[in-house]
Symmetry: C2
Subunit: 423 residues, 2 copies
């Protein structure tokens, strides 16, 4: 009988998501593993035991000075993995709202001084400290909503020094907040003003100057490209992503968000880790993603906010056998930090069941982010978990504004204390 | 120079919504009144002064033992008024989600054992204490999200004793939570099983037994009717509402939610305080509401969750000159408690500006709820206000998950302390 540092008792339910190892193509989208009347034990920052509470005393022994956290009849779930964010930026774009209300497209708003390049101006002008502080505040609020791991893309500097700076600052932000950060290089987020009309030359700068430096300094795990008319074409995206793959990074693609871009098929062809957005993906695209084992990272709040349709194609992707993961897409365009709100949009807009949405926000999102250890509660895995004052796992996603009681990463409470600083 | 009990300093902005008295038809939907670098002073539970911080010292004197609340560069807005909820109920309806995901209509789900009557069974079976506790928890979370006043409808008992019980419990819930509650009698929420196929007989029971008792005991300020096929027809709604008006209650109508029901025109004809939902309202309906001075209470999260369209017709109503108010519609069908989420849906789905959404969630919602004193920050008004850690009022509605620092009603903090009990 092993000694443990912390036990959580009196839980109505534990969702472990621990049905065997995660295969290369991501777990099937099915029922989460659920334990009624559960308890959880943590030792040395990892899950030591999870099971029915009546077996707790025989399974583990609380070390002297250990902590008992009362679950008060709530639920425990793995810490959320937010699989797609642009969370490192300066400024905001509230000024675009009247243009959006008047029905202007994303492209038109960009031509009127809004869009990505507006945030590039603000981000280039911000000091390291200002960027660290603003991003750490966001990640702290994300953690207070239940997120313990977050993918963060660069992409608001669009020059070699600036893009590398954003990636360099991420570990500092992770240390300050206690949130695990997966860095993604998105130099190909837009064509910077210095290269207006010369996108191919910017692609060459990415391939020849930025990517080798990102790889050499191990600043990013993934390379992503915004593959959409007005941004980067399929051949340009392929040039960038093949260079990234040859340097040991993995690929992600912003695909089929506003129009049929061909990005989903490119992701399948290259064996990308994920294709993201996918609002316009066809049945053929879905088949190709499923066959290639590419995760669909869906962003249902953005689907609601930026398009005339309200739905993210979550149901269709699941039914086609594509592993679905969820993300906030937190950016100045869609400023949402709370994964519970994303789950509610995936359920009410994307037609997932609460169990499917939870799978997509934990174990599948971990897989889409290359974090095979995270997203499940099983012995030996990191003790990343969130308590919610809800009577059942099925309440997550059903209710629009579920707020955690407390959030732990690697056995340490990361939410309540730090949140005080910022709200 | 008057003595005050509490001052809030260091505010980036105060939104007062105080441009003159509220006319009978509700204020125009325009810019909120905004004071940059503001301070606020409270005496005896009422706003004593609000203005530029540099004038604070000449305007008021803090009494001995008074409190200074640091605004930390955030904003202050009037406490939100949630103008439409069904917040007193037992149980939940998460079990309906698979039917909703499969595209079943509200009426089909009701035929399969879901819908309003499922909640009626749970609510009839619940004890007074259980109902008070569950509803108080909801109102406490609403308060933590910035709501200081909330309209609550009966309607989950559908018999004389039960409907009166729900209304009788509301003052207890208000005292326990510190939230101001406006009670609405909604006996005509659905036809109860005892009257299946005999809706007219149930209407007579409402008119002859329930309404006189509600009026005599002053249990409700408003009478509402769910005017929709399968629920109550326009003639039935008119019979109920005319009886209510003759007894001194004011009228509200659930109108044009799923189909064109004629409820909006009925509301205009009767001079109702509000017509609510209005997803299918026509240009003619809008003109009649505007001419009659009837408020449109819009519920954009429900619009997102229950219909194939994603939009609440907020822009169209404002442009037609109808005073627009917002509500959560909190119920087992759309379980949302947070007005900031409603504001985000009104902005991103309903195409309001943040200032318009704030107007709709404060002074206009107060007017739609018969609370002419609430919803503005002006000397003499109740000191109901919320601090947000945001740099500008324009961030509300732009950001999906704005969380208050602290919420005051009548000069007392009502959020943080009580929330601890429940989350």
């Amino acid at each position: 009988m092993s000694g443990v540092d912390l036990v959580v008792t009196d839980l109505a339910e534990a969702a472990t998501l621990a049905r065997g190892p995660v295969p290369r193509t991501g777990p099937a989208m099915a029922e989460v593993d659920r334990i009624p009347r559960a308890a959880l034990a943590v030792a040395d920052g990892r899950v030591a035991w999870v099971g029915p509470e009546r077996r707790l005393r025989r399974a583990v022994r609380l070390r002297t000075g250990g902590t008992t956290v009362p679950g008060r009849g709530g639920i425990v779930v793995p810490g959320f993995v937010d699989a797609h964010t642009h969370a490192i930026f300066a400024g905001d774009r509230a000024f675009e709202l009247p243009l959006k209300a008047a029905g202007r497209s994303y492209a038109e708003i960009a031509r009127r001084g809004g869009g990505i390049l507006a945030t590039v101006r603000a981000t280039r002008a911000a000091s390291d400290d200002a960027l660290v502080r603003a991003t750490a505040e966001r990640l702290t609020r994300m953690a207070a909503a239940g997120t313990t791991s977050v993918e963060v893309k660069s992409g608001y500097a669009l020059d070699p020094t600036g893009e590398l700076r954003l990636l360099r600052l991420l570990p500092r932000i992770a240390r300050r907040t206690g949130v695990r950060v997966v860095p993604t290089f998105l130099g190909a987020h837009a064509v910077p003003p210095e290269f207006a009309g010369r996108a191919d030359a910017y692609v060459e700068q990415i391939v020849r100057r930025m990517l080798p430096e990102v790889a050499r300094r191990r600043l990013a795990r993934f390379c992503d490209v915004f593959c959409e008319p007005g941004y980067f074409t399929v051949p340009q995206a392929e040039r960038i992503l093949r260079a990234a793959l040859s340097l040991g990074l993995e690929a992600k693609v912003h695909a089929e968000e506003f129009v049929v871009s061909g990005g989903a098929r490119l992701a399948a062809r290259l064996g990308a880790r994920s294709a993201d957005h996918l609002l316009r993906a066809s049945a053929g695209d879905r088949r190709q993603l499923a066959a290639a084992g590419v995760s669909a990272v869906l962003l249902p709040v953005t689907a609601f906010a930026v398009t005339r349709e309200r739905r993210s194609p979550a149901r269709e992707m699941v039914d086609a056998g594509v592993p679905v993961a969820l993300g906030t897409d937190c950016s100045p365009n869609t400023w949402v930090e709370s994964m519970p709100i994303v789950l509610a949009h995936a359920v009410h807009g994307g037609r997932l069941s609460p169990a499917e949405a939870l799978t997509a926000a934990t174990v599948n999102a971990a897989h889409a982010s290359g974090l095979e250890e995270a997203g499940t509660l099983a012995p030996g895995r990191p003790a990343d978990f969130t308590l919610f004052p809800l009577g059942s796992v099925d309440q997550l996603g059903y209710r629009f504004d579920a707020i955690p009681t407390v959030v732990y990463r690697q056995g340490n409470a990361i939410s309540s204390r730090r949140l005080r600083q910022y709200v």
